[in-house]
């Protein structure tokens, strides 16, 4: 197999020295992490590597030599470097060399032991793959599909060659802690050798977060203890609590805040993202709420809205009245049964008169009309189906839950047929009222549903992850991509490995927060069935509600 050498781009201009990194035999790839410069004492290098190996549990070793010929007089360096392979034995021994002012490198990988199969060369072909150490260190690889029986954690190193590279660099953070200004025994070159990256604000925030989290966690535990006290479990309050969507939202937010400010550290990156997403979501919620409040308070908009509400309620009632008058006439050219029409129409009109003074219940009468219409229609359909069975000489067997044949008497058949005929001819009138009010009710339900969806969106959208994907796309990686760099015949192939960021749809899918759980329970098919048979529909049910 071709030997793949992963070389960090920051070390491409470093001075000559030893290559330090990890060798992955299954992939035949050498991941170079740093370059050790002259002068060094081999014992100290070995000690440092043993320390790093113990701290990070990564098999760090000396992989070979790196030769950067800056002047013509450095021919002797080559012989010196070859002698080093006797001190640090590694199989295979990598020798990378770069000429001054040349873009092309020369690479050699030699095996000291006699190869097992005859005819196999003692030298391997080498392919150079450059990678940005900082980006690979900070990035988190998202595998394409999580298999159900796949064990996470230790198995990722053997799962894919590239996952092993990412894993190696991420776990070797210990090696990158010292920079060139430290007075250590060994001088290393890596992405932080120009100076360790740190930010004063981040350090201050880390110091302050401990006591703040403790304080807020105590406060939140007090609030949640108070909310679960016996007082709120009494019947009227608990019923109101579960019905109002504000209380549901408050409970949800309380749970989220408790999780954010818990004194436990996040165990893995996914939990950290979740905490960050929740925090940003809470901030957005508060910010939107404050903005809305300030907008409402400015220029006395609340007063204006309240003033506008009364005429709107009147307008709705008036429109309903017009609608009922239209139904009582000849709606859409259909001929209704006059008597039944009048009865139903007057019944509903009376209700409008009752409710015209109640401002707050804008759409409550629509709901009531829908319930009445639905119940009437349902009774009618039940009667019709049972009499239709009688008409055909069959009966519903309650014990066996099926339709059986039955022999009726003549008078039973006669009355049954009469009633059936009456119900059939009155069906259009009732059905029309039912249809109209169901449509109105569905309209109201749609508006309610849209508001629910909006709240759900604010709750569950992972804004921190989306922001991270926008501003630092290398942090969330779906994979890698390679670019072939300038090539000369006879020289080893040089590739540049870049991070392929995760698409936005996958970011939302992976990091979406759990929402309240208020989803429509019915599929379209069952909804149509319920509508046809006149059963009442309650599309938005909160979690844990009793079935009606």
């Amino acid at each position: 197999m071709v030997l793949k050498a992963f070389f960090p781009t920051c070390c491409a201009s470093a001075d000559s020295g030893l290559l330090v990194g990890r060798w992955v035999p299954e992939q035949s790839s050498a991941v170079v992490l740093a370059v050790v410069h002259f002068p060094f004492i081999p014992i100290q290098v070995k000690e440092l590597l043993a320390q790093v190996q113990q701290a990070s549990r990564v098999g760090v070793a000396v992989l070979g030599t790196w030769c950067h010929r800056r002047q013509e007089s450095e021919e002797s360096l080559g012989h010196f470097l070859e002698g080093l392979s006797a001190i640090f034995s590694h199989e295979p021994w990598l020798q990378l060399c770069r000429e001054r002012g040349s873009k092309f490198w020369s690479c050699k990988a030699t095996h000291r032991q006699v190869p097992a199969s005859p005819g196999a060369p003692g030298q391997d072909q080498v392919m150079l793959i450059f990678y940005d150490q900082r980006k690979v260190l900070l990035s988190q690889l998202h595998p394409p599909a999580a298999l159900p029986d796949h064990q996470a954690g230790d198995a990722t190193a053997s799962a894919g060659g590239l996952a092993a590279v990412f894993d190696t660099v991420a776990r070797s953070e210990v090696l990158f802690r010292s920079d060139q200004f430290d007075e250590g025994p060994v001088r290393l070159s890596h992405w932080q050798s120009e100076g360790v990256e740190a930010s004063i604000l981040v350090e201050l925030a880390k110091q302050a977060s401990g006591p703040i989290c403790l304080l807020l966690a105590c406060l939140l535990s007090l609030i949640s203890a108070a909310s679960t006290s016996r007082v709120f479990k009494l019947w009227p309050l608990s019923f109101i609590w579960s019905k109002l969507s504000t209380c549901e939202q408050l409970r949800h937010r309380l749970g989220q805040l408790t999780l954010i400010f818990s004194t436990q550290k996040a165990e893995n990156p996914a939990q950290l993202m979740r905490k960050a997403n929740m925090l940003v979501s809470v901030f957005l919620d508060v910010a939107l709420g404050l903005a809305l409040l300030s907008w409402l308070h400015g220029k006395d908009r609340i007063g204006q809205l309240a003033d506008a509400l009364v005429p709107v309620a009147d307008h709705v009632a008036e429109e309903l009245q017009h609608l009922l008058q239209w139904l009582m006439g000849a709606p859409a050219g259909l001929k209704m049964n006059r008597a039944l029409d009048q009865v139903l129409g007057r019944f509903f009109l009376y209700h409008i008169h009752l409710w015209i003074n109640i401002i707050a219940l804008l759409t409550f009468h629509i709901y009531c009309f829908y319930v009445y219409g639905a119940r009437l229609y349902c009774m009618k359909i039940c009667g019709l189906s049972s009499l239709w069975r009688l008409f055909r000489g069959k009966k519903w067997n309650v014990l066996r839950q099926r339709v059986d044949s039955c022999s009726y008497d003549l008078d039973q058949l006669f009355i049954g047929t009469l009633l059936f005929t009456i119900l059939v001819f009155l069906l259009p009138t009732t059905a029309l009222y039912y249809l109209v009010f169901t449509l109105l009710r569905l309209l109201v339900v749609t508006v309610q549903g849209l508001i629910h969806l909006l709240v759900d969106l604010v709750n569950s959208l992972p804004l921190y992850s989306l922001g991270l994907r926008l501003c630092r796309p290398y942090r969330l990686a779906a994979g890698v991509k390679f670019r072939v760099l300038e090539h000369e015949a006879g020289r080893p192939l040089r590739l540049l490995m870049q991070i392929n960021p995760l698409p936005y749809s996958r970011v939302v899918h992976t990091y979406r927060l759990p929402s309240c759980g208020c989803h429509p329970k019915h599929s379209w098919g069952s909804l149509c069935r319920k509508l046809f048979f006149g059963e009442l529909i309650y599309p938005w049910r909160q979690r844990g509600d009793k079935q009606d």
């Binding site: 197999m1 071709v2 793949k4 035949s28 190869p115 097992a116 199969s117 196999a120 391997d124 072909q125 392919m127 793959i129 298999l147 029986d149 796949h150 894919g160 060659g161 590239l162 994979g479 890698v480 991509k481 390679f482 072939v484 090539h487 192939l493 590739l495 392929n500």
Partner: protein
């Protein structure tokens, strides 16, 4: 080594296949699709604007005209950025993997890389596409659970859709590398 050849796609449009042999273990195939033709662009724009003008004469609302211009511009930008693919590239690197890149007309590039450990084979398949029977090149991925099974079929050159002669060229080249890869991975080195 670079070589360019001219082929045609399943609808008869002209395609250009560019082959680059970087090394014995690394090859790249680049298929360029026919560009956006001025004729179709003009036709679509004229249709949309005539329809908008017709609506305008009915409604006497000048917002319709500005909306039509807006829609045309947005539609064109969206088409160039999300739909129109200019070039499709297949890069095959021995013992590393296979990379497929699609470059859109607006410059956006979308890349997928499949590691060599997951690749079972590269084959030419037949498919029924609308009223035609076409050939397409695809990569078969190994099933981690079953050693002889196939977990996924990934088609290559999906928007360019070259004909069989072009596919055979690419297939032969890739099979040389895959054969070499299988030989070296079989021997314990």
């Amino acid at each position: 080594m670079e070589a360019e050849q001219s082929f045609s796609d399943i609808c008869g449009g002209r395609l250009a296949l560019q082959r680059r042999y970087y090394s014995p273990s690394c090859r790249e195939f680049c298929v360029s699709c026919p560009r956006l033709s001025l004729r179709s662009l003009t036709a679509v724009t004229c249709t949309v604007w005539l329809a908008a003008y017709g609506l305008f004469t009915l409604c006497e609302n000048s917002m319709i005209l500005s909306a039509a211009i807006f829609i045309t511009l947005l539609g064109l930008l969206g088409y160039l950025h999300f739909v129109k693919i200019d070039q499709e590239t297949l890069l095959i690197i021995d013992s590393l993997g296979i990379q497929m890149t699609s470059s859109y007309a607006s410059g956006k590039e979308s890349t997928t890389f499949i590691e060599m450990g997951k690749v079972k084979d590269l084959v030419i398949n037949e498919a029924i596409y609308m009223q035609k029977v076409i050939y397409y090149l695809c990569i078969l991925l190994k099933d981690p659970v079953e050693p002889h099974g196939i977990s996924q079929v990934v088609p290559v050159f999906q928007s360019a859709k070259p004909r069989l002669d072009c596919l055979i060229e690419v297939y032969r080249s890739c099979q040389e590398i895959l054969a070499h890869q299988k030989a070296t991975s079989a021997s314990p080195m």
